[in-house]
Subunit: 244 residues, 6 copies
């Protein structure tokens, strides 16, 4: 098989990843994450209230909202606020982000608080949801650190790291971290969320063209595992930087 | 490991499956499917129009909508029409059903037509989306058969069979076809859509509690493969019956 | 006048009526009612809360919601949840059902509870709202019986039986219980709700073509009275069956 | 029976009725109608277009919209535009107004035009829908007269007069034209729409308290017939006035 | 410069202004205001509740809502309640009315109450928002007078008079109180709200055609000052009339 | 008067202004503008279609949409897309931006095209609407330059420069370019839009506390004139940079 990726990357190569903390100043956590030309602003906002269904249980909640600026994409999309509501794709993505991030939180240790992760895509080039999860994790850590200091919490509510990447089969070749040129031409597209212990949090694979075989799935999962290892390292490096 | 399922089923045992064709009389295809106490009415409606984005391309489209009657569940849920719109869960599910069924259709052979699969849950006991996909496939076949006769189509637009099942890890035990009692207590929940050639169409796995390991995923996929084989057989048996 | 009804029925003849109790298992009352090919699933759901405007008054409330599955009809109708709200026809019908059923309830005896009657049309062939009222009454009785046992109520909140039927003038002939073929071709269409004491609860007559005269109205009311007598008998027969 | 009406009116006495034509200057027909303290502004607007479902059939359509100013009533109601949509009561009423007025129009003679009757309640004291129908008829006649002159139509699209009144049983006494004090305390409330030939267009009776008997219904219909005769006379008198 | 206004008015001449108090009977204040053919019904409704964000602060609030009857204008506009929400122009105007009227109220003296000013345009001929503000002030005074009597308030919450007028440059000529014929053809349009002490509350100027120069702005402000003086006098005259 | 601004700026001093062109890569024009800590991403998107009301007239249109990321502000605001629509403030601002930018465009020269200016606030610290207008102008120039090259236009549709600034009275002192600390404590707040010829496009002044006098208004307009001169210079400097 002799397939060249449009970007010239090796099949198991991520795009350049940057994680810029404290990108805006109001949010408790604020991260601009880039996977190549995909840029997502992730903020974590803490509110001192339990959601209705958890009131009085001493537990907190983590939730997410996702949006795309109208011209984050190649042709302008209608603004969801102007159209009167969020579409199905948006809801699907923000539910995925929320579920994924809840997997690294101890909700008892968080206490009766809600943390909302807002992931807004400034520029899209494929993989916006996986970049969002990867960046939102760092914003969440920053927000929780602030909270622990401010409220003098004893236990750290963060119980592990979470990152995500897409994998897919492009012209027969299993590849890591699809950009838009690949994404719009691939047969199978899979988003994988894992923790830093190598456990799976979410696996969402879709055959866009032909159904995929078990051995292809195995190849994709191996690529994802490799990519997420590198993303977790990038998160750690970003968090290691002390910022005033 | 000595875990008993609430229903007493073996870990690789489906609930009783029934597929009743021609359940209502107006739709081109109309199927009442049951996976145990989960009952979903699936209708296939044909319209002679291309969706806007396919106009003039000579291709058709298959789409799906999903709904739950307000008291299909244990406690009454608010009617989505009264609440003013479909929620995130509904959108996520109907997008999954539509993508899955498009995987067994040759859209050129279908011609400039839209087939809408309406999947309405009359009674819910876990696995409504997988029952919906499995039943909707049969409704789709009935509708396409009618269309082929009526329009004298030369090529069959149906290019394979599609079925779906849920699998999960219940108290440490990988099990097939979760009912509500299991679903609400399981650690990992995975919906798998496959075709009759053993290819994967969709895999959506979620760690509800602990992250799942690669070997657990392998066990779940094997269970799904077995279950879908039986569901495809049930679809064939139902379709083999001649009905006047 | 020598008019034959499309169905061959006599002018004062109902369609075959069936009332199937306990059709689904979650609701406190659940009835599948058929007037010929019109099939409506009626569930009664009890909630232990007073609506806001009755709080603290010791009274309950009965309300109704109505829906049609998108392909209950000959051509597919847009799903109201997808369209973003209930249309005028739906609202008109569910207000009628709610008002009608409240006429057989002693709201003091019910106590601070809300009973919601969901009437969802699985298949439509004319007369869906009258079938809904007739079936919802039986679901309401089942729900209230359960409530009386569970809560050990002393007084029965049900104070009479309620049934409904449509009447109309088809090609000059007053006829009972219009099916769709008649409904779409009749000059006058009247929905009548009565109690088992022969009292009128609702009369809604509309001249679709020519205005109707007083003597025509008298003929229609007489037909309705006969039909409702038979429907009340069918309700009693259904309720007389002991079901485990 | 010795019941006095709150207003001191005789049981078969209408409130003072006024019909002021050309109340605003932009609409093709514009009428301020009063039934006592109930005041409704009815405008008729002509547009030279067929609705989608009548395109190319050479027929027109008459439709109605109804609204209440937020403080037309004793306590302020939320503005429907601010709440995000029309409620069930509004939809029910505007559907009734539209159906009623279509009963006096020859849609072929109207040609491919839409006439919209906007009925906006400036002040409410019971009977707003019947006042609206009675006033809208006069606005419709004015609009059609203008249209006939402007377009040189040969046939008059108006084929009769339409008026409406409410009747009800107040403390056991059948009374004509209920005001708010009666309406909120009556057992049975019936809205009757008739044409000037004595034919019924709509009859909508509701038992608010006890079910009503056949003889009560007969008494109510007789009162309605008397009242509508007087309203048709008032419409004629208003239309006889030449206005520049 | 030799420009004639379409109405023949002098450049600094208001249209005839009428202020009719107690126009409807339910509202605490109810005024029909006319600026020429522009007619707006302004009602003031008092509710004994603080808005959520002022609860427990002992302060009140004044807010406004604006609407146009669908046929207040030359061609029929869609009803905002039917369209599903208020448009941008409506929101802009009602926010302006609310802000303006709050400028003449001492919110501590008002106490925990909300006064809602509903301004509904019955007929539009330019200047609806300035007529609305001018009329709403009178309705507000009437409502507050009633409140002071009823609740025996010691301090008058009204701390000054507020009126508004539009000014603009029509064919090069600065003119006062634009009607629709001028408004739709002018280069600059400015709405000015002032109090009776000559202070500015709001100035909203828009260059519709060419940008306006500082000297033009000065001329417009002088015209507005003159017009508002006359409007405040008209308000005083209307309020001086004792009405039972 | 001895008032110090919270930021220590002189009363006639702008915050540091930066204008970063080509901030994102898909839009025809894309500018990140900062007025101090206020940061707005402005994109200009060109579509080759006339809006409905201009079809066939050979003219184009410029429109704007405005949004705030939920955590652009000190406390998180609800996402407008999730709430189901744009609020009054958003509509007011985007209407202002659109009107302002249309003042520098020759719509005949633009031809049948729509340019949409999306102004999304990444971080808010007062003056978001004036920053948006100032940045959107630069994005518009970039988009139009691209269009002229691509379509070989003969006439430049841009007919002047547009910039905007806020002015206000803070503790009695007229000041230029209010930041949030000043904005939330000022008596009068005025947004001024001017062109590079010194003409006024929009003046929107609001008395938040006491009404403002004519001499205060004069002082504010003089400050605005000075500030806009500097902003136009900053725009020119940014546009003078050649970027590949």
């Amino acid at each position: 098989m002799n397939v060249t990726r449009p970007s010239g990357r090796a099949s198991d190569q991520l795009r350049p990843v940057t994680i810029e903390r404290h990108y805006t100043r109001h949010a408790e956590g604020s991260v601009l994450v880039s996977f190549g030309d995909t840029r997502v602003l992730c903020t974590a906002s803490i509110e001192d209230r339990a959601p209705a269904w958890l009131r009085g249980k001493g537990e907190g909640w983590v939730t997410a909202e996702y949006g795309m600026l109208p011209r984050a994409t190649n042709t302008r999309m209608q603004r969801e606020a102007a159209r009167g509501g969020q579409g199905g794709r948006t809801m699907e993505i923000q539910r995925l982000i929320g579920r994924s991030l809840r997997a690294c939180i101890n909700r008892q240790a968080l206490g009766e608080r809600v943390i909302t992760l807002d992931c807004d895509v400034l520029q899209a080039d494929g993989g916006t949801r996986t970049a969002a999860i990867t960046g939102a994790y760092v914003a969440l850590v920053d927000a929780v650190s602030l909270l622990m200091k401010r409220e003098n919490l004893k236990r750290n509510p963060i119980v592990g790291a979470i990152a995500a990447v897409s994998v897919g089969i492009y012209k027969g070749l299993p590849v890591l971290d699809l950009d838009y040129a690949e994404d719009s031409n691939c047969d199978t597209d899979m988003n994988v969320v894992m923790n830093d212990g190598g456990g799976f949090i979410e696996v969402q694979g879709t055959a866009e063209g032909h159904a995929f075989r078990r051995d292809e799935m195995d190849a994709l999962l191996a690529l994802a595992e490799k990519g997420i290892g590198e993303l977790v390292a990038a998160q750690r490096a970003a968090l290691a930087t002390s910022i005033e």
